[in-house]
Symmetry: C2
Subunit: 111 residues, 2 copies
């Protein structure tokens, strides 16, 4: 805390009281941003978003990412756990879809 100890001669400033963030909200938003804090995941997410309605197949995400298949699977899991994408298994292949609401939510946190 500022100025709990003997105060210097001059006031430092007017305390900033209003912070728009609840602590729980901050933790929630931080998790979302953490999922975006890696170039590989941004790349994957951008491809999934670009795939639109139909979704994107993992088999077409591995090569462009330049990472091994297990690594891609790991990143997709993180994106899923952050609520940014959903996954669906269709026969042999796994399809990932973007969650626009979650993106919008994070964009709103940057106001």
């Amino acid at each position: 805390m500022a100025r709990t100890t003997p105060t210097p001669a001059v006031e430092c400033c007017t305390p900033v009281g209003a912070d728009g963030f609840d602590h729980a909200d901050a933790a929630e938003a931080a998790k979302g941003f953490a999922a975006l804090a890696d170039p590989v995941r941004l790349h994957l997410l951008s491809m999934i978003v670009a795939a639109g309605e139909g979704g994107a197949c993992v088999c077409d995400l591995v090569a462009p990412s330049g990472r091994s298949q297990p690594t891609v699977s790991h990143h997709l899991r993180l994106l899923r756990e952050a609520g940014l994408v959903t996954s669906e298994k269709r026969g042999t292949w796994a399809w990932y879809h973007a969650v626009p609401g979650r993106l919008e939510q994070l964009r709103a946190a940057l106001a």
Copy 2:
């Protein structure tokens, strides 16, 4: 790469070619999001943004963050290195200002 090895009977999907992200852009955006990937930094940034034109004094950021002064200093340094805030030393105190352009830039990356 998908389908470099003998193809199964059915095509998996139509490859997603168009990803809006240049690799360099992705790395740049990832650094910005990494700076937002911590509740403490989100809290600090929100207070600095709320302080507006005048900026926020560090002495009023430490207590609300619930972290030690060195830890707050560390987080402020990361925010500064990510281009989200600037710092200015005025006499005894240090003032931090938000960089609205950088925030806008990251918000745009979520499109």
